[in-house]
């Protein structure tokens, strides 16, 4: 039985491997929670977050047949970083170009679809710890389905 987490990892790896996206969000791509900047080692201020929002499996007689996952894939840029507004917009567009209807190859699975179901909201978020800080967010909820 293939490892479902490999789908998560493949999604992160696909985004990380794109040089254009990494110019816009150089601190990296993280699963669920941002870590230290992959460039500076300091606080990440321009990055992409991938979160599994929901997942369900479809069974056929005798086995699991389909893994159906919804991911939030979102660029987050601190408002004080250079070109945050424009870069956030460009990063969201780049994420969509990389994912919408694009195959996501994972060992042990057959890719079925990757498509956006909704844009993510809000586009501007006030930081919980420091209300003077704004985060610009761009991305969407992407449906990713693989069969076994």
């Amino acid at each position: 039985m293939p490892d479902s987490s490999d789908i998560d990892n493949a999604l992160v790896a696909k985004l990380l491997a794109d040089a254009t996206l990494m110019l816009l969000t150089p601190d990296g791509v993280f699963l669920d929670e941002a870590g230290a900047s992959m460039v500076t080692g300091g606080n990440a201020t321009r990055f992409v977050i991938v979160s599994l929002v929901e997942e369900h499996d479809e069974a056929v007689f005798g086995r699991r047949a389909i893994e159906d996952a919804l991911y939030l894939v979102e660029a987050r840029l601190l408002s004080t970083t250079a070109g945050a507004t424009a870069n956030g917009k460009a990063a969201g567009a780049r994420i969509d170009a990389l994912l919408e209807d694009q195959p996501l190859t994972v060992a042990g699975y057959t890719w079925m679809t990757t498509h956006r179901e909704a844009r993510s909201t809000p586009r501007v978020e006030v930081d919980d710890a420091d209300p003077t800080i704004r985060w610009y967010r761009r991305g969407g909820h992407y449906r990713v389905q693989h069969s076994l």
């Binding site: 479809e58 069974a59 056929v60 007689f61 005798g62 047949a65 079925m112 449906r143």
Partner: protein, 130 residues
């Protein structure tokens, strides 16, 4: 013994001899309902009926799988194939089987996997084993 339906199986052979599993099936149903003939007579205190013949038919669901399109070939067949329905393959000696005609439907939603449903009617003696 009560067992899960997870290991059910739908098997079919268009030649009517040795059924093999149809893949990506998710459910099957079979009805063995018998029609009853009204033979109520003058003086009976209630209606009286005698059994006629069972009308055996059923249906099922699953997913479209391009590696196995037997179901759609069966739907246009002019001769019946052998259908075998197994509630649980871990008790493979318990099954219903017989010659049957099949019909098929496909449902392709934009947001999910294409579904394939089928219905069947007996075309010969359809019996339970054991």
């Amino acid at each position: 013994m009560i067992k899960s339906g997870r290991n059910g199986s739908v098997m079919y052979d268009p030649a009517g001899v040795t059924p093999v599993a149809l893949i990506a099936r998710t459910s099957w149903k079979a009805s063995f309902k018998t029609d009853y003939i009204d033979v109520t007579c003058f003086g009976d205190v209630n209606k009286v009926k005698v059994p006629g013949l069972p009308d055996i038919a059923g249906s099922g669901d699953g997913f479209w799988d391009s590696t196995n399109v037997v179901l759609f070939a069966a739907a246009s067949a002019t001769t019946p194939g052998k259908l075998k329905l197994v509630p649980n393959t871990t008790e493979a000696t318990f099954f219903a089987s017989g010659l049957a005609y099949l019909s098929a439907d496909i449902d392709v939603p934009v947001s999910g996997a294409p579904g394939v449903s089928f219905s069947w009617v007996a075309a010969g003696a359809f019996v339970w084993a054991p």
